[in-house]
Symmetry: C2
Subunit: 246 residues, 2 copies
DNA sequence: ACAGTATTTATCCAACGGGTTAATTACTCC
DNA sequence: GGAGTAATTAACCCGTTGGATAAATACTGT
C-alpha cells in the first residue's frame, strides 16, 4: 500500500506485484530524510521524536538506524542536504550577466523567496546554531561548497565599483550575511515579532512591503541613491516588482 | 552555605544564625529564574532539564513548581524577564536629543552591544520562535511594552526627514527589524556562518568590522551618502568609533 | 529451486524526565 | 513557647524515548 506512492529510484521500475510489499531501500532512505527534515524543523533536535520520524516515513523505527544511523547522524544528514539544496539553486542565479544593482536585487529576491518556500531550512539552521554548530563542524561536505559562492558575489561587487554603480567595495561575506540577515531574521522571528509589534508580518502585503524595504535598503546603500529606490518601496502595488525568482 | 551569597530582599536582614539553613523565597525565585535562563538558552525548551535548573539554582526540583510553575510557565517567566530587560535599557538611550543619523548609529551600536553582552537573549528568542511564539502569545505584559519604542524610532525618522538628513521616511517597524536583523543574525548564526565561511566571526577584529559595516549600510541607505561612511568602515582601527554604548 | 543476503517487522528494555505526594523544617505571630 | 503557616526536602511514580535484539520476509545470483 505505501509503496504505491513512491517510485522506485532504480530506473528499471519493474512494476512487480505487491502481493505483500516490495523493498525500496533508496526510496525508504529519501522518505526517512524527508520525514526527519520535517520533524527536526518542527520540534528542534531535542524535541524531535525518532518514533514520529519513523511513522511519518511510513517505516519502522529500526529502519532509521539501518539506513542512516542514530538521531544525531540523521540530523546531520538532513542538515547537509538542506545546505546542498540552497547552494545548488543559488548557482543557477546567473548573476554574472546582470548589471550589478540588478544582480544584487536578484540575489535578495532569491534569498527571500527561497526562505519563504523552505521554512524548514530556517528552522534547521536555528536549531544547529543553538547547538553551536556541533554537528556541522564534523561535516566535510559543507565547508567546500561556499567559496565559489563568495567569489560570485565578490565579482558582482567589483564589477559594480568599476562601472561606477557602487560607491564602495564592500566585503562580499559581510554583504551576503547582511542580505541573508534581513530576510532570515524577519522570517525566522516572525512569530515573536508579530506578537510584539501587533502586526501579522506574514500577511501578503506585509511580505511585499518587506521585500521592497530590503531591496531599497541594500541597493540604496551601495549606490547612494536612496530616494528613488525607497519611493518604489512605498507603493508596491505592482506584483511585477515582487515576481518569483525561481 | 548557599544562603550566604544571597542577600535577603527584606531590608531588615537580621543576620541570623545559620545553624542549618535560612529561608529566602525572593532570592530563591531569582536564582531559579537565572538558572532557568541559562538552561533554556543553552539547551532550548525541549533540551532543558528541570533537574539541572534546580541543581544550578542550588535548590530542590520541587521548588521550581512551588515558586514559578511547570516547565512552560518557567520558560515564559524567563522570556518575559528578558524582554523587559532589553526594552528598559533601550528606554535609556535618549535618542530624542541626538541628531538623526547619530541617533540611528547609536541605536545600532546599542543593539549590537546588547546582543553581545546578552547571548542568552538571542537563544531564548530563537527557541521561542521555533515554538512559533506559543508561549509569548499567552503573555499580556510583553505586548504593551513595544509601542512606545516604535514611536521613539518614528520620531527620529521624522526629524531626519524634516532636517533633510534622511532622504526617505521609512516605516519605523521595518527599520527596527532591519537593524535588529543585521546584528541578530550575525551573532545568533555565528556558529554555522563561521564554519561555512571559514572565518572566526567572533574574533575581535571581525566584530569591529561587522559593526562598522552595519552602521555604514543603514546610515548610508537613509542619508544617501554611502562612500564617506563606508570608507570609515574600512579602517576601523580607532576603538573610539566602536565604543560601548552602555 | 535454493542458499545467501538485504531489507523490514515485531518486541523489549533500561534510563530518563517531568511532575507529584507526603513528610520535615524554619519562621511568624500571639 | 506553642499553634499555624510558609518554605524546603526526600522519595517515588509512571509514561516516554532512544536504542537494541532477534526473527521474519523479500530479493539476488546461480
Amino acid at each position: 500500500m505505501r509503496r504505491e506512492s513512491t517510485q522506485r529510484a532504480t530506473g528499471l521500475a519493474k512494476a512487480k506485484q505487491n502481493l505483500k510489499w516490495q523493498r525500496d531501500p533508496e526510496g525508504m532512505r529519501l522518505r526517512i530524510l524527508e520525514a526527519a527534515k520535517q520533524e527536526f524543523s518542527a520540534h528542534g533536535l531535542a524535541g524531535a521524536r525518532v518514533d514520529r520520524i519513523a511513522a511519518k516515513a511510513g517505516a519502522n523505527k529500526r529502519m532509521l538506524y539501518y539506513h542512516v544511523g542514530n538521531k544525531d547522524e540523521l540530523y546531520l544528514a538532513v542538515l547537509e542536504g538542506a545546505y546542498d539544496k540552497i547552494r545548488s539553486e543559488e548557482r543557477g542565479l546567473d548573476l554574472e550577466h546582470l548589471d550589478p544593482p540588478e544582480a544584487i536585487r536578484r540575489l535578495i529576491e532569491f534569498t527571500w523567496n527561497y526562505f519563504l518556500r523552505n521554512p524548514e531550512f530556517l528552522s534547521l539552521l536555528q536549531t544547529e546554531n543553538l547547538a553551536r554548530a556541533k554537528h556541522l563542524k564534523r561535516s566535510t561536505k559543507v565547508k567546500s561548497m561556499h567559496s565559489p559562492f563568495v567569489e560570485m558575489i565578490r565579482t558582482v561587487v567589483r564589477r559594480g565599483v568599476d562601472s561606477g554603480d557602487f560607491q564602495v567595495a564592500v566585503d562580499p561575506v559581510q554583504l551576503y550575511i547582511s542580505i541573508a540577515a534581513l530576510s532570515f531574521f524577519y522570517l525566522s522571528n516572525s512569530a515573536t515579532l508579530s506578537v510584539i509589534f501587533g502586526r501579522d508580518l506574514l500577511a501578503k502585503d506585509a511580505k511585499d512591503e518587506r521585500l521592497a524595504h530590503m531591496v531599497g535598503l541594500v541597493v540604496a546603500a551601495l549606490t547612494g541613491r536612496s530616494a528613488a529606490l525607497f519611493e518604489i518601496a512605498k507603493a508596491p502595488k505592482s506584483r511585477a516588482a515582487v515576481a518569483q525568482t525561481v
